[in-house]
């Protein structure tokens, strides 16, 4: 004899069926990634903030469980990320970023080259938020002075997951190999992802000196130093040294 149909079991079976169907039908290659890139603060020391969102429409966040995002950010010659600062941030586990190229932090912009920095971060709830501290270099003075324009393009975006789930995606593309993270020299295979950039290209204007001031500043500086020096030499020359024996008992004796 058949047992009466249990409603609870029916519901559970349907949920299971839909979940399996969802799992099988979810296209792991349809990443639908959106990226916001914002330059924060003002002046010579700023932060680039990155907000990345995966598949916000269908909410299949389980797909990205334990996956890691890698950002490959190229900075123009007028901007740099300080490798020692990044090293400190890595040690303090505040940020996993490592420079790809050697960076000289003291060179003016015109004597420097564009540099690249890798940033890695785990995906949590379909989202990633990372930041990169960046600094502006001094630019050579120009006639008229004003501001020098530095344009920071969007980063390249990579994804790495612990299992084989990305292997089916974009088979034509060669996986890119670079550091798994900033803490070891081990290299991993990454898959480059297309994304929609929700913000404009970053523009950072840096004040530059005015070459039209050159002669006035040269003469002015030389004059100030010469007058100051002569004033000091005169004071040394004219100074008559006075000696007063130190005697705290003097008024008692007088």
């Amino acid at each position: 004899m058949l047992r009466p149909f249990n409603n609870k079991n029916l519901c559970f079976s349907f949920i299971l069926l839909f979940a399996c169907f969802g799992y099988l039908s979810a296209d792991p290659c349809n990443f639908n990634v959106k990226l916001k890139q914002v330059l924060k603060n003002q002046g010579f020391h700023r932060n680039i903030s990155y907000g990345i969102v995966f598949n916000t429409d269908d909410g299949n966040c389980w797909m990205y469980k334990d996956c890691v995002v890698g950002l490959d950010q190229t900075l123009p010659h007028g901007v740099y990320a300080n490798p020692d600062e990044l090293s400190t941030l890595r040690r303090l586990k505040k940020l996993n970023a490592v420079p790809k190229t050697r960076i000289n932090t003291e060179m003016p912009a015109e004597h420097s080259y564009p540099t690249t920095t890798y940033i890695t971060e785990k995906i949590k709830d379909c989202k990633v938020h990372v930041w990169l501290p960046v600094h502006a270099r001094y630019h050579l003075a120009t006639p008229g002075g004003g501001m020098a324009r530095n344009t920071i393009g969007p980063p390249k975006l990579y994804l790495r997951c612990p299992d084989q789930r990305l292997d089916m995606c974009n088979k034509a593309a060669t996986p890119v190999t670079f550091l798994c993270n900033g803490s070891s020299k081990e290299k991993c295979s990454w898959k480059e992802l297309p994304f929609t950039l929700l913000t404009d290209t970053l523009v950072w204007n840096i004040p530059v000196g005015n070459m039209e001031h050159y002669h006035a500043i040269s003469v002015g500086t030389a004059l100030v130093i010469a007058i100051g020096s002569l004033y000091l030499i005169k004071a040394i020359h004219e100074h008559k040294l006075v000696t007063m024996p130190f005697n705290p008992y003097s008024s008692l004796h007088n």
Binding site: T105, P108, I217, T221, I225, A226, G228, L232, A235, Y249
Partner: protein, 425 residues
């Protein structure tokens, strides 16, 4: 008021404890501040020292850390930063502040003679370092300058007191002068007046070149001082060169000789250096160096020979080295502030005028800092205004120095030559 004087006149050990407490408090606060605010309390150099110490600890060269431009000795001193805790270095620099305080007290006691023991003048002088906001700030922010300042004071202490008797004291004085030159280069300017202080007590204006050469001929104490200084300096330099090669020579010495930092700093030469990048001939800087050399020489021969005015020569020389330098940052101020307590008691100056001079110096600095803030943290194009403030600051340095020089009276002792100021026992 009486209560205030009672506290002021407490024995030095209480003040040392208070000075250490202030510093420890600020070191703890620095941790909170650095985690909370964008503009950190801790100086960038402290992370440079710590990173260099980490390299040394791992068996590498400290010069693997970019912008490490100090003697490897500093990185050795800071190895416990890696082993014990990140604040070790700051605590160590603060302890050096206390050593300086004690050394200053002993030196001033010797300058004013045995009668000074009846007053607290030597202790008040040491307060100018112990409670100086700049010295407190520099050490707790993690700058290592208190180490070189201490070796300079120690060199002078051995030279001018009988802490160690006989010819040994000149050897010790030379040893510490050699270490200080190895650490910071600029104390090399002190070697000439210190040398002169052990010879004739005055060089008359009519002295001919030949007589001058005869004056320079060394006596035994001068010979010991110079030899000890040279042997120490060359020994340390050679040892470090043997360990780290050209990296050490370049980063520690050569870089500082031809340094042209075009980024904004207090120097009157900053904007000129910036505009002059890639211009080739550097006429203004050459003229500046010529004036600087002449003034340093004049200070040496005028105030060097008399041991009573030797600290004045060294103080003025340091102000000149800093004011005329093509790069000037606030940490350089402690170079002369560490020598200020040795001469401050001899400035015969009204308190209102002393206050006015202090206001002039601090205000000129503050004005520069305001425009530097606008440039660095707000991105405003204010280079010309920064140059103007640099000029004002240079003028204020020279003006204040001349006023202090004119008021210098050997043995004045803050005017405490009155029985009413006798220390209450």
């Amino acid at each position: 008021m009486n209560r205030y004087l009672e506290v002021l006149n407490l024995p030095l050990r209480y003040h040392l404890a208070a000075g250490l407490f202030i510093r420890l408090f600020l070191i703890v606060y620095a941790d909170f501040h650095d985690k909370t605010y964008d503009l950190p309390y801790t100086d960038i150099d402290y992370s440079v020292f710590s990173d260099a110490a980490r390299h040394v600890y791992n068996g590498d060269s400290p010069y693997k850390r970019q912008t490490y431009r100090y003697s490897p000795l500093i990185s050795y001193l800071l190895v416990p930063n890696i082993v014990l805790g990140k604040d070790f270095g700051k605590i160590l620099f603060s302890v050096f502040d206390l050593f300086i305080t004690v050394a200053v007290k002993n030196l001033v006691q010797r300058q004013l003679g045995p009668k000074s023991a009846a007053t607290n003048v030597p202790m008040y002088c040491s307060f100018l370092w112990l409670y100086n906001p700049l010295s407190i700030g520099i050490s707790t922010r993690g700058n290592a300058d208190s180490v070189s300042c201490f070796t300079i004071i120690l060199s002078l202490l051995f030279l001018q007191t009988d802490v160690v008797k006989g010819l040994k004291k000149y050897a010790l004085s030379g040893l510490f002068l050699g270490i200080s030159i190895h650490l910071r280069l600029y104390p090399i300017v002190f070697s000439f007046p210190m040398y002169l202080s052990l010879g004739v007590t005055k060089i008359p204006r009519q002295t001919t070149f030949r007589q001058g050469m005869l004056i320079l001929w060394p006596n035994i104490s001068q010979l010991i001082l110079a030899t000890s200084c040279l042997v120490t300096l060359l020994g340390l330099t050679y040892s470090m060169y043997a360990l780290y090669g050209y990296d050490f020579l370049y980063e520690t010495y050569i870089y500082h000789v031809h340094r042209t930092d075009t980024r904004h700093n207090f120097s009157v030469l900053f904007y000129y250096s910036y505009l002059n990048t890639n211009q080739g001939l550097d006429l203004v800087k050459n003229v500046t160096n010529l004036f600087k050399a002449v003034i340093l020489f004049l200070l040496s021969i005028k105030y060097g020979p008399d041991p009573q005015t030797l600290p004045l020569a060294m103080f003025c020389q340091t102000v000149v080295v800093v004011a005329f330098n093509s790069v000037m940052t606030s940490q350089y101020f402690v170079w002369f502030l560490s020598l200020l307590p040795l001469v401050a008691h001899s400035f015969r100056i009204k308190s209102s005028k002393a206050l006015l001079l202090a206001i002039i110096w601090v205000t000129a600095q503050g004005a520069w800092l305001f425009y530097a803030y606008l440039l660095e943290f707000k991105g405003r194009e204010v280079f010309f205004l920064i140059w103007l403030k640099g000029v004002v600051f240079f003028c204020s340095n020279i003006f204040v120095l001349v006023q202090l020089l004119r008021s210098y009276t050997v043995g004045y002792g803050f005017g405490f030559g009155q029985a009413t100021h006798l220390k209450t026992q």
